[in-house]
């Protein structure tokens, strides 16, 4: 029973990390909180459901189309909610509100297209719908796949930031946007790519979470947003390994509360951990120790 819970926590944590990776990338480099990240995640889940159930597409095709679509959505997000505000000296508030406004639009457009109810994926379309025996635990193959996908993607993201040309531009931008521009970094293009990458990750997280728990609804983005914020603060804003660590920590805190206390306290565990972290070490476990306090 306990090993079952540990595996649940691992796959849940990997999912949180995958969702939070995009948030932490954008916050760490641009100092912006993207409030529409959860809405893109929701679109990933709902669109893949639509493609698989209504159009009867194979899971692989649905995933591919969803990835392209969410990437474009990231582009839209950057162009409408963030780019027009760039260069203003008004701080955190306007981009936070503009992305909130856009997330309201995205949620209600989804409501209009997909309906307001919680939907289930068609049985025959879901891949890896088997169980594996692991000791005394019965593990859903899907949850294992979710875990592996999350780890691989986080690894790829880390590699991209650390080793590629785009990653170098991103790191230059984080260091100092002005100097980066002088050194020939195309700032607008780099930022647009970051939003595309973050949104693709959110979309993939949406597809896999929807399939793994066999449910999706236009409102599924809200609670994930909250968890995502908790993850990036715990792990340290901007740190990709930190997101992984934060995701796992929150998943284990949740599952631990469910096992040892009661499932009623599950959501409180997250915020107690979060508040404790903020008061003790606001820069997070693996965050760079830049100024977070006044």
């Amino acid at each position: 029973m306990l090993s079952q819970q540990i595996i649940n926590a691992l796959s849940q944590g990997a999912f949180y990390a995958l969702f939070a990776a995009g948030l932490t990338l954008i916050f760490g480099v641009l100092d912006l909180l993207n409030m529409a990240h959860g809405a893109v995640f929701m679109w990933g889940a709902m669109l893949s459901w639509y493609l698989m159930s209504t159009l009867g597409l194979h899971f692989g095709f649905a995933l591919l189309i969803t990835i392209v679509f969410c990437g474009l959505m990231g582009l839209l997000l950057e162009h409408t909610a963030f780019r027009p505000l760039r260069g203003r000296s008004t701080g955190h508030l306007p981009p936070l509100v503009s992305s909130l406004a856009l997330s309201i639009v995205l949620v209600h457009v989804a409501e209009k297209i997909f309906g307001t109810r919680v939907v289930r994926y068609p049985d025959n379309a879901v891949p890896f719908a088997s169980y594996v025996e692991m000791g005394d635990a019965q593990v859903s193959m899907l949850h294992l796949v979710l875990m592996v996908v999350a780890l691989v993607l986080m690894g790829a993201l880390w590699y991209m930031v650390a080793r590629t040309r785009l990653g170098r531009s991103i790191r230059a931008l984080q260091e100092n946007p002005k100097v980066a521009r002088l050194m020939g970094v195309d700032v607008d293009r780099t930022i647009a790519w970051m939003f595309v990458i973050a949104s693709v990750l959110a979309g993939i997280a949406g597809v896999f979470l929807g399939v793994a728990y066999n449910s999706a609804s236009p409102y599924m983005g809200h609670w994930v947003d909250l968890k995502g914020f908790a993850v990036i603060i715990l792990g340290g804003m901007g740190s990709i390994p930190g997101a992984l660590l934060g995701g796992l920590l929150i998943a284990f805190a949740e599952i631990g509360t469910v096992v040892f206390l009661s499932s009623d306290y599950r959501d409180a565990a997250v915020f107690v951990v979060l508040m404790g972290m903020l008061l003790l070490k606001p820069s997070g476990l693996l965050g760079s120790s830049r100024e977070v306090r006044a």
Partner: protein
């Protein structure tokens, strides 16, 4: 007279909401004045609502006292948590206050005393719509006075540049905490009003999405003066009603409107007024001059 009564009959609650949301927007505005991005208003509104309801139901406290006592409770909580959390800045503070709101909602949801998920019903009715409007007018007057006072200028100075304010000898921490406590108490009073107006409370009324809406009201209206949040709350409360004929398109229009205002009017809806004034100015000084410093 009959038409007035009819109008009030069908739009009474909407009119009530206008004042309530304006007060909530002001409660966010006072912390924003000091540069602190706090989204805790809904949490304090919940504390005010539940405290006042429980005090009048279980302790038999008369309405004005339960309301005042609830405000004191919210103020004390704000004072207690204000010290540690106001050390955080920007987005970190915002996320912490969101966490605080969720924690309050969580307690309301899981505590038997607050009725759990079923909520509280049978709260004695006492709030008239004019109470909320009177409170709003009082606050507007208060903000008007504050703006011209030393304290108001100190808050704005902290909002512009906290370091500079501190080096000018302004006790920044004290001001930030006082602003936070004041905002908490305003929100608490709207909560108490709401509890004794609808006579029913449930934890779902105090969710994260409601909390961020209040922030949107303030920014949408503009943070240049206290009229901005009031205007923002009124317009955004009316907007969905006015677009009722658009049915499920109206929230999409709502979001797009907010987006357009944030992008094209950096100082909020209040800026429209400035545009008119600038045109008049230009007409008055017909001679071509260099670009003014305000742009």
């Amino acid at each position: 007279m009959q038409t007035v009564l009819d109008f009030f009959g069908s739009y009474g609650y909407l009119i009530y909401l206008l004042a309530q949301n304006a007060v909530l927007a002001l409660s966010v505005y006072i912390t924003l004045m000091a540069g602190q991005l706090s989204i805790a208003s809904i949490g304090f509104m919940a504390i005010g609502a539940y405290s006042s309801a429980l005090l009048s139901m279980n302790a038999g406290l008369p309405y004005p006292f339960s309301l005042a006592f609830a405000a004191l409770i919210s103020g004390s909580v704000a004072l207690l948590i204000g010290g540690p959390i106001l050390r955080l800045k920007g987005v970190y503070l915002a996320i912490t206050t969101v966490g605080f709101g969720e924690l309050v909602r969580f307690i309301a949801l899981n505590w038997d005393y607050t009725g759990g998920a079923m909520g509280l019903s049978g709260i004695p009715p006492a709030t008239e719509t004019w109470h909320v409007f009177a409170f709003l007018l009082l606050l507007i007057f208060g903000f008007h006075q504050l703006r011209r006072s030393r304290h108001g200028r100190a808050l704005v100075a902290i909002g512009r540049d906290e370091m500079a304010a501190r080096s000018m000898g302004i006790p920044t921490t004290r001001y930030k905490i006082v602003a936070f406590v004041a905002g908490a108490m305003m929100a608490s009073v709207t909560g108490s009003f709401a509890a004794h107006h609808t006579n029913y409370l449930s934890p779902s009324e105090f969710s994260f999405s409601t909390a961020v809406l209040v922030l949107i009201y303030a920014v949408f209206g503009g943070l240049g003066s206290h009229w901005g949040p009031v205007l923002g709350a009124i317009v955004l409360t009316l907007l969905p009603e006015m677009f009722r004929f658009l049915d499920d398109w109206r929230m999409i229009i709502y979001g797009i409107s907010v987006l357009i205002v944030v992008i094209f009017l950096p100082d909020g809806l209040l800026e429209v007024r400035k545009l008119f004034r600038r045109k008049k100015d230009r007409a008055a000084h017909a001679t071509p001059t260099m670009e003014g410093p305000e742009a």
